[in-house]
């Protein structure tokens, strides 16, 4: 259902890119939460797994910070 909603919102409505990005990512995050939380049992997992994932999220955020910094810098120069 969420997949159909994503396709309809982005493909069917043909809305501006920035709105489409926000909606598509919000739906993808919801689906990701459902898969990770219930199928991968992350909602009831051990603390050690959470620690590993927290570390992963930190380094993932560092990876995304690079392009984000570049984007903000680019806007600043325009």
């Amino acid at each position: 259902m969420l997949t159909a909603l994503t396709v309809w919102a982005c493909y069917g409505l043909k809305m501006p890119v920035h709105y489409a990005i926000m909606i598509a990512l919000a739906i993808a995050c919801t689906k990701g939460f459902l898969v990770a939380g219930f199928f991968m049992h992350l909602l009831t997992e051990r603390k050690l797994i959470y620690s590993i994932l927290m570390l992963t999220v930190f380094f993932f955020a560092v990876l995304l910070w690079g392009p984000w910094h570049h984007f903000v810098d680019m806007i600043g120069h325009q």
Binding site: V7, V17, I27, M40, L48, T56
Partner: protein
């Protein structure tokens, strides 16, 4: 000599493959797969990061839905989510001691994976027919790299599930709990592959 050989065989046994380790609270394979998945997050994270960098730096960026096959990719999304359900059902049935249904659901997962790969093959074939290759543009380079790497992960899952469906299932007779744990670990990997596609689909096809 015999005692030494017996000792060596004992040392080779991997500990805590069924029962959890007292210090971690997890059996070793489960901790191992989560560490592996953490490294996989970084691998795909680097590619997503490159995509953002290329997209924000480009004066124009094509929108995937204008030329990629969105209906086929939507079907593939349903197929992968269905395969995540079947792998959970396989594990649940094995936990209940039902090998027959467990194997049936593993076969269902395999079928979904094969459907996904066949659809992907049709999609690539169409792109090549339209003379769109990785060298064509930054978008196509990103598209082929990310979907190709994801496809390789699906293929890896197919190999693993084929093993557990046929030769690996012999373990059920000797060590049921360990076989069930193996399916759980393979399932965690499979859910991750599904999770990556959940983000790849809107990023490449819809935005």
């Amino acid at each position: 000599m015999e005692a030494h050989a017996h000792g060596a065989a004992h040392e080779l046994q991997i500990p805590y493959n069924v029962h959890p380790r007292p210090d971690t609270g997890l059996y070793n394979a489960k901790l191992g797969i989560w560490l592996f998945l953490a490294s996989e997050v970084m691998l795909f994270g680097a590619l997503f990061s490159s995509l953002i960098l290329l997209r924000t730096g480009a004066p124009t960026w094509p929108r995937g839905w204008t030329f990629l096959n969105v209906p086929l990719a939507t079907v593939n999304t349903f197929v992968l989510i269905a395969s995540s359900v079947t792998v959970v059902l396989a594990w649940a049935n094995l936990r209940l001691g039902n090998l027959k249904w467990g194997r049936l659901f593993i076969a269902g997962t395999l079928l979904c994976a094969v459907i996904f790969l066949v659809n992907k093959g049709f999609e690539y074939h169409h792109e090549f027919e339209m003379h769109r290759y990785p060298r064509t543009s930054n978008f196509m380079a990103v598209y082929f790299t990310m979907t190709g790497l994801h496809g390789l992960h699906v293929l890896g899952g197919v190999v693993v599930f084929l093993y557990f469906l046929f030769p690996g299932a012999k373990m059920w007779k000797t060590d049921r709990a360990r076989y069930t744990n193996r399916i759980e670990v393979a399932g965690l990997y499979w859910h991750f592959v599904d999770l990556v596609w959940i983000f790849l689909f809107p990023t490449l096809y819809l935005l």
